[in-house]
């Protein structure tokens, strides 16, 4: 009987983490101007041919009706992604923006900020492409709903598009993409035991109050703002060298995290927020498949949770030792995998109920800020339609709460940091200071 269900085409049963993304989406739609989305930006060294690009993209997307799906519930209460009927072109907006004037750099960031703060227009829209032509720079921005992709999935989708542009057969590319997923309604004991490990960690982290800047929206639903800190290859190499020297060989993530922790501590202290310890969720990729097409759509990520004691935040040696120790302990007990397993128990709860859980027992204080570091890109090549990709960075809408995060990614030796914050929660001046802190301390 179960195998019959598994063989049902066009149903992708969502994982617990997909459901968590759904909860965050609901919270963000209620508190900000759009849902739980992110954007990956490909900077290009020359403008791509607009008409050819649009035509190729439309032809490519026709192979992926999944991008026009929506969330539904099976009678077993397992949530699934309902595929639209075949032959229907998925609703994927494609915009073209031309910037002019001297302030193209600022204009570009403003345009990108506007894209990521524009809500998808209906429940079937989860993806949007934007071509931006500036005086001296141009880019392709891909805005995506986190219920459809995680960051690596979105990059990998563009990677498939690159393969298609390079002449690979689109049907052959698409047919290998996994579009079905089982219920995952077994192994209950393991899931509950995993939940026990997760609970223990959360209890330890919340013994001290969570230090957080309160979110006050005054009845408005604000958007997100961004600052991008970019390091070229030479600068990035120096940062890696310092990370190896100070944190240990390959310890780039703990090194970057320690610098962000230092800067955030100064920010919070400056705000007079001086109670409790910092709790920082750090996302991590759990993919194991050799072929990305097995894990392209939906979420294959989980979280680490770190605690940063305020008294250690400015002591680099102690701070790094603490981060490394916590990272080690969490990997040792397989915390991210257990969080993923335990989260599948939450799928039975409706999203509004889970939204209440975040706001009532936890009083909206789940975390102080977010951090992540994606160490490598997932692209097939460094070209799109004959134009070279000079850089790639991400612009996530940070979950609310906490509404602020710093996200690093590497692209072919370059290092980028994106500071993302809820408009009104912090001032531009405060974020300029965070940017300066990071530039100086890295």
């Amino acid at each position: 009987m179960i195998s019959d269900y598994l063989s049902v085409k066009n149903k992708y049963y969502l994982s617990g983490f997909d459901w968590v993304m759904g909860v965050i989406d609901l919270i963000m739609k209620r508190t900000t101007c759009a849902g739980n989305a992110s954007q990956v930006v490909f900077m290009l060294d020359a403008p791509p041919d607009e008409a050819a690009f649009c035509d190729a993209l439309r032809r490519f997307l026709r192979e992926f009706p999944i991008v026009g799906g929506s969330v539904s519930r099976h009678y077993t209460l397992t949530p699934y992604w309902k595929m639209p009927k075949g032959g229907v072109e998925p609703p994927v907006p494609l915009t073209v923006t031309r910037l002019d004037g001297e302030s193209a750099g600022k204009g570009l960031l403003d345009a990108l900020t506007a894209f990521i703060n524009t809500p998808f227009s209906n429940k079937h829209e989860h993806l949007a492409f934007h071509l931006v032509y500036g005086k001296n720079e141009q880019c392709l921005a891909v805005t995506f709903d986190h219920r459809l992709f995680d960051a690596r999935g979105a990059e990998s989708f563009v990677s498939l598009f690159q393969q298609f542009l390079a002449g690979d057969d689109k049907t052959r590319i698409a047919e290998k993409v996994r579009l079905t997923q089982g219920f995952d309604l077994s192994g209950w004991k393991q899931k509950f035991l995993a939940g026990q490990t997760v609970n223990r960690r959360i209890v330890t982290l919340t013994k001290d109050q969570v230090r957080a800047v309160p979110i006050s929206m005054n009845g408005k639903r604000p958007g997100f703002r961004y600052r991008i800190v970019s390091f070229d290859r030479e600068e990035a190499e120096k940062i890696v060298g310092r990370a190896y020297g100070e944190a240990g060989y390959l310890m780039i993530m703990p090194y970057l995290f320690s610098r962000v922790a230092e800067s955030m501590h100064r920010l919070f202290e400056g705000r007079g927020v001086k109670t409790g310890a910092y709790v920082v969720p750090v996302s991590t990729d759990l993919r194991r498949a050799k072929d990305i097409r097995d894990e392209l759509f939906f979420n294959h990520t989980s979280m680490f949770f770190f605690q940063v004691k305020p008294e250690d935040a400015l002591d680099r040696k102690k701070l790094l030792a603490g981060i490394k120790e916590q990272l080690y302990q969490q990997i040792q007990v397989k915390f991210p995998e257990k969080l993923m397993a335990a989260s599948s128990l939450m799928r039975i709860a409706p999203l509004p109920l889970l939204n209440l859980t975040f706001h009532l027992p936890l009083q909206g204080k789940i975390a102080s800020y977010c951090f992540s570091h994606v160490s490598k890109d997932s692209l097939a090549s460094s070209e799109i339609m004959g134009t070279r990709i000079t850089n790639v960075f991400h612009m996530p809408r940070t979950p609310v709460p906490p509404g602020i995060g710093v996200f690093f990614n590497s692209y072919r030796g370059r290092l980028n940091g994106t500071i993302s914050w809820l408009d009104g929660q912090f001032t531009e001046e405060e974020m300029v200071q965070v940017e300066q802190d990071l530039k100086c301390s890295l």
């Binding site: 993530m253 490394k324 080690y328 040792q332």
Partner: protein
Amino acid sequence: MAVEGIDTKAAEKEIENILLEGIASIVSTDKASLAPDKPFHELGVDSLGFVEILVFIEKTFKLQLIQSDLTQKDFETVRSLASFIQKNR
């Protein structure tokens, strides 16, 4: 003396093989594609993968290395790591 040298080399080779199997599983690749004399960062290992390798070493060889003063030289390649483990276990 010479026999001891041969034993050490054989033990290092065995450790190298165990490490390669563990690393292949951590970075989701075939063991055959991993060169034991290549630096870890060229094998596609990042911070998290590296800590996973440290956890694997602790479970397999009962050596805790996360807070030790490891130099890049000790950890540069699977081969140098195997030699380090052989000397310290």
